[in-house]
Symmetry: C2
Subunit: 407 residues, 2 copies
């Protein structure tokens, strides 16, 4: 945790990945992030993977460092509490992150009546408000038909919900940008971030759509070949698989040196009348001629021989490894200062990350676990809404809120 956003009070009414990661990033930069959920948990409270006691490891990963208040969101009086929280008073409050529907009880119009300068960031599925989630929108963008081995026509979904993740980070950017604008002009805003627009725009930002408009069809499926440059997975003598990448001239020359291919490739260049060094596109065009040279060079060496040679030679490469091996990798997990041992609400102790970026000038504060559901109910009602103990008691008695013990 860092202190960049210390003093900000953000309220999150969310579920799944995009909106919760937005809140997570804000919390890890020092904002106070208060997530409200229905009593008993929202639709993501029991999402897999689960610990043996039924706690969601997914939920506790995405809500680290937040406060939790549990409210009966099915009744008007509970909804009113949520509305008042979203529009919380204070110069550095009135900041709301949500994926609740555009038109419901947490619409911008409703909340704006409570706080005219509200900043609201809203994750949506389709821009028209219809149901869409990462995987159903991704299928419509063509990527699953471009993914996977070229000899297999079946669509391949990504496992990592990339659109959700991009949307979450973009929403955090949107929220702070809108706050910055509000501090200068006094004006609040709703920022709507539909997965469908973020997907469609990104495919355009990366050149996919221009290419398809030019050629009339989407990029062909090509397995792990890196489009327009040189890169692919290769098998070593001992049956390991390594990813090799060469986009820049330096990456290319270093790969050739480390694999002892400099003269063989020069001979191929002479035969073809091309120079691969300064034109990554030519490496792609002639990859069918280049691959056999690389396949042979990898097949003659073990991964244990290649790894130090690649590192010493400054080659851009990576070993394919399962996550259990990554967890033993000192650069990723084992000795990574981003991670810290934490006691989680599941009762399990395991390393968890703080802010994903590192600020060398600042001290990394402690990594905080996710709250238990409703853990901060009374504290939030008192501090944010200024309720008295008697008022809070009445909400409990009416079953409109619940504390960390579920009551």
């Amino acid at each position: 945790m860092y202190d960049l956003l210390k003093g900000l009070r953000v309220v999150e009414g969310s579920a799944f990945v995009a909106a919760p990661t937005c809140g997570l990033y804000l919390a890890q930069f020092g904002a106070e992030v208060i997530r409200f959920d229905n009593i008993g948990g929202g639709p993501d409270f029991r999402r897999w993977p689960l610990a043996d006691n039924g706690s969601s490891l997914y939920w506790e990963g995405l809500n680290k460092g937040k406060k939790s208040i549990a409210i009966d969101l099915t009744r008007p009086a509970g909804r009113e509490v949520a509305q008042r929280l979203a529009a919380a008073p204070g110069d550095d409050a009135g900041l709301f992150v949500t994926n609740f529907p555009v038109d419901g009880f947490l619409s911008y119009e409703v909340l704006k009546a409570l706080r005219p300068d509200l900043v609201c960031v809203r994750v949506m599925g389709w821009a028209d408000g219809s149901q869409g989630m990462d995987y159903t929108i991704n299928s419509a963008l063509g990527l699953p038909l471009m993914t996977g081995p070229a000899d297999d026509p079946r669509p391949v979904n990504h496992v990592l919900a990339a659109w959700d993740l991009l949307t979450g980070a973009y929403c955090a950017f949107g929220l702070v940008s809108a706050l910055l604008a509000r501090t200068r002009t006094g004006q609040g805003r709703e920022i709507r971030a539909p997965l469908s627009d973020i997907g469609a725009a990104t495919m355009a930002n990366l050149g996919f759509t221009a290419e398809t408009l030019m050629t009339g069809r989407q990029r062909q499926r090509m397995g792990n070949d890196i489009f327009g440059a040189f890169g692919r997975d290769f098998a070593t003598r001992d049956g390991r698989t390594l990813m090799l990448l060469a986009i820049t001239p330096k990456q290319w020359s270093k790969a050739l040196e480390a694999l002892g291919l400099t003269s063989e490739v020069a001979a191929l260049e002479a035969e073809l009348g091309v120079t691969f060094a300064t034109d990554e596109g030519l490496r792609f065009t002639h990859r069918a001629r280049l691959y056999p040279l690389f396949e042979r060079a990898f097949a003659q060496r073990t991964a244990a021989e290649l790894a130090p040679a690649f590192d010493a030679g400054g080659v851009t490469w990576g070993a394919y490894q399962p996550l259990e091996a990554a967890l033993e990798d000192p650069r990723l997990y084992k000795d990574n200062p981003v991670f810290e041992d934490v006691s989680h609400p599941s009762g399990l102790n395991y390393p968890a990350p703080g802010a994903m970026a590192t600020i060398p000038q600042d001290r990394r504060g402690q990594v905080k676990p996710a709250p238990r559901l409703g853990q901060h109910t009374d504290e939030v009602l008192a501090e944010v809404l200024g309720m008295s103990a008697a008022e809070i008691g009445r909400l409990h008695d009416a079953g409109l809120v619940a504390g960390g013990d579920g009551r």
Copy 2:
């Protein structure tokens, strides 16, 4: 383009995807973003896909709305110009986005000497400074071994550079957060965002690492099955493939209704002694029993029958389609107000997106094309560094800068 960040002056010294998308998002929210490149272009200036005239559609997609200055970055006097730009004066300047090495001529220490309150956001490969790009770090995180059909053990890389994209948006968030902190405390910062940490942390945020620590091994490969819920691709009678997803109780009941499976699934529930409606995990556990029912229901209907029934019933679904079909899809491209016809530096005209989010209260400004390389060289030297025409002339004469015509 929106005006949220109007008045900010950001300098970008970048290449590839992560840092340029950071600058793109800032520009589309109204910041002035000045990208400097080596004369003749950086390592990404000719990245595929290319237009017929050799222009990069990728480069012009990622640099929309920015200004461009071309500098000879190989010589000390050119490097000094880049350093002075990164540390540009002004309350809303001194904001630098880069993927240049931590220790080079654009290190934070060097730039801090020019401007003590500099905000610098730095994209890195590995956190230790060694070479790493999206695809070589992704291979080390286990995802390619979890991706693709369960009956094929070959690793499958993602086609979308998800780590680059997440890093770019997270850096935009980091930059505005650090600016907010600077406006309050006067303190500048370097924010380092290594792809390796962003990947490692995200796998933890989503519960992948906790799951692997608990079970001893990473999640098994399962094709397009959605882990822990119900979702997969299904084939229709006319050979189309549709993605169906049901995480929430509502998504599940609506899918059953639209496919006419309510009573068959009730019979299966009775047989197994479970209730699928309120526990998506049970749907996953018993998916081998559920799939045949769904496969049959899809195989009895055409896509043209299912699409309106799914939409009318509020089902969460998507059709697998190639990008050329997506371009005709009114919700994604055809009638999407995020897109506008633009004349690009390649000489081509095609629709390009502005900001990925929509602010209903604000007017969407025009989508601006990418600059020609060096198009704003003289303007930037005069306005940002306050150089006289004579000084600028001397830089041109010495070949230290170049304009839009390459001179």
